[in-house]
Symmetry: C2
Subunit: 327 residues, 2 copies
DNA sequence: CCCCTATCTGGAACCGGTTACACATTTAGT
DNA sequence: ACTAAATGTGTAACCGGTTCCAGATAGGGG
């Protein structure tokens, strides 16, 4: 059906082997021959079949990406970072949403391998590490970490600490931490770090649990101000929860940031769109994705890499849900 | 390296052809043989190589998806709908963000085909239709339409009309429509429909242009209330712009919905998280994605489909950025 | 002018599946 | 019991590239 390398060979009056050599710049090819082949390729609009290539070479131009849920606004930025960087190098992305389910992760992993992907970028729970352990292709963890695997992630410890320090510095006295699911490692870490930092200060601390999703967040947050009527500072486990809290605060007639300050986590795009703008801890999601892509490509090319952990810095983004520094 | 069909054949004491027949339930296979093969597969944990299969059969288990930008919150829902439905049927997704750029669309399209994808789901501008016209594999348009290609999309005409009718019904007298980029067809259609509906009423109409992105929205909307100080109703081209408008309204000291009502478009997840909750026109994004996946699978299986256009209904979601009906 | 090497090219095997076909063995029908 | 049809299995070719190897030609040095 489609144009094959033998069609090109015939058109150029050479053998398939020669076309292949011209195509890959491998071995010798006389200048005239090369030109004839290139012309034939042009004329027939030939595009080599990646599948055949992949079968013989035992390696494709595909990278598999496993993410918890692309519907959670933190992950599209990661994915975009990965994809943009990968594209420049000629790689394509097969993507799978796992919903944090081991079964789905394994399912995608298996089929990725069946498709000869040359590398895997995964954002999965450490408890599921077994499936990634003895793969014959490189794996890079993204956002999450698993022992002995290279990883790109943001500094949760610093992030949690930073959020706590800021809210203390800005004068909150009874602080409620909204803790996300403890199974999600980075979310748990930022909680622990915030908690420890707050504990060293003379403030009251409340802890409330919440899902990370849109649906879960509004529910968990409903009773917040009934349960802790005197809370005047809130550290949310992510921006979605923070926005839900802001919503609830306004509903409860509390002014943000005058009555209650709120700090989110992630710095997803909506932060600067909501009113008041949401102060937050920024994770450089796009850069994390791009970095993971960069590492996986190096690994695929068998470059030897000195480091295996790439911890990116977070920063406090001041908007309007916290009081102005120095006020 | 990996286990091949011949390894399984040797283990089971049969030929590769027999293993293949058992695997695919094609041709005959004695019950004992079948069992021996299945045992061998189990024992060796054999997973057939999709690449080899794809090469011979000239068709893979891959579908290509081209979206403008996964970072825009409307698209992840689409993608998720596609993926979830595809997964159930054993298909995987190669994904590409185009940023509406023809060059990138073509680039992805070409490589998708090189990878033997069996179908394409695309959300691209009608002006770029040429590249999709004479493909030998099925194409389904998603969110956008192109003549003569099957498409799944939401009813923009109805959506634009609905938004206009609602805001009239709820009493706004000077209505500002924020028009998105006119090149983006569905966005333009909803504008036209709103505009036409409003024109039949005795109200003043303003039109303001804006990008659809987070970055663009806040900028475009900055001068809104200076330019149209008497506007008391706003129809935004999407929810992001609507949220930016809400932000700006509150910043300008105008109460929503008392002083100014706002209706968004899309019903992305943040709508119910912001304060006040954003009334909007809901497009069933997840369902659209799932439907597109369903159609592409049927097409791949050479089912003959009676319809080629699947227009899904939109609905008005009432939240708090509009006054209560009947008040 | 000869030999050695560098350059150039095609044939054939290979990657790991699938399937057409040939051949062998059952099973069934009369 | 004898043939015809149904069942069961292996061999080999094929999908579209890549690469090893052998053979051919050209170029360079002595």
């Amino acid at each position: 059906m489609a144009i094959t390398i033998r069609d090109v060979a015939k058109e150029a009056g050479v053998s398939a082997a020669t076309v292949s050599r011209v195509l890959n710049n491998s071995g010798y090819a006389h200048e005239d021959t090369r030109k004839a082949v290139l012309d034939a390729i042009q004329k027939l609009n030939y595009k080599p079949n990646e599948v055949a290539r992949s079968l013989f070479k035992q390696k494709s131009k595909l990278i598999g990406l496993i993410l918890p849920d692309i519907t959670n606004p933190f992950f599209p930025a990661l994915a975009r970072g990965v994809e943009d960087h990968l594209r420049e190098e000629g790689y394509r992305l097969i993507i799978g949403n796992s919903d944090e389910q081991l079964k789905q992760e394994i399912d995608y992993l298996d089929t990725f391998i069946q498709h000869n992907v040359v590398g895997i970028i995964a954002s999965v729970n450490e408890a599921h590490s077994d499936m990634l352990k003895d793969l014959k292709i490189p794996v890079v963890m993204l956002d999450r970490t698993i022992e002995n695997l290279p990883a790109v992630y943001a500094d949760q410890f610093e992030g949690g600490k930073l959020a706590a320090e800021k809210i203390l510095e800005l004068g909150s006295k009874e602080i409620t931490i909204i803790r996300g699911p403890v199974e999600v490692r980075p979310v748990y870490e930022r909680f622990v770090s915030s908690f420890q930092t707050l504990r060293q200060a003379a403030v009251k601390i409340n802890v409330l649990d919440s899902e990370l999703t849109f649906q879960g967040a509004s529910k968990s947050v409903k009773m917040l101000f009934d349960a802790y009527p005197n809370t005047d500072g809130i550290l949310a486990c992510n921006d979605i929860v923070a926005v839900a809290v802001m919503n609830e605060a306004q509903r409860a007639g509390r002014k943000v940031p005058e009555d209650v300050q709120i700090i989110g986590y992630d710095d997803i795009s909506i932060c600067e769109l909501v009113y008041p703008g949401l102060s937050t801890i920024r994770q450089p999601a796009y850069e994390m994705g791009a970095k993971a892509a960069e590492i996986i490509i190096k690994k695929v090319n068998r470059e030897i890499l000195p480091y295996i952990h790439c911890k990116l810095p977070v920063q406090f983004i001041e908007r309007e849900s916290t009081r102005k520094v120095g006020k």
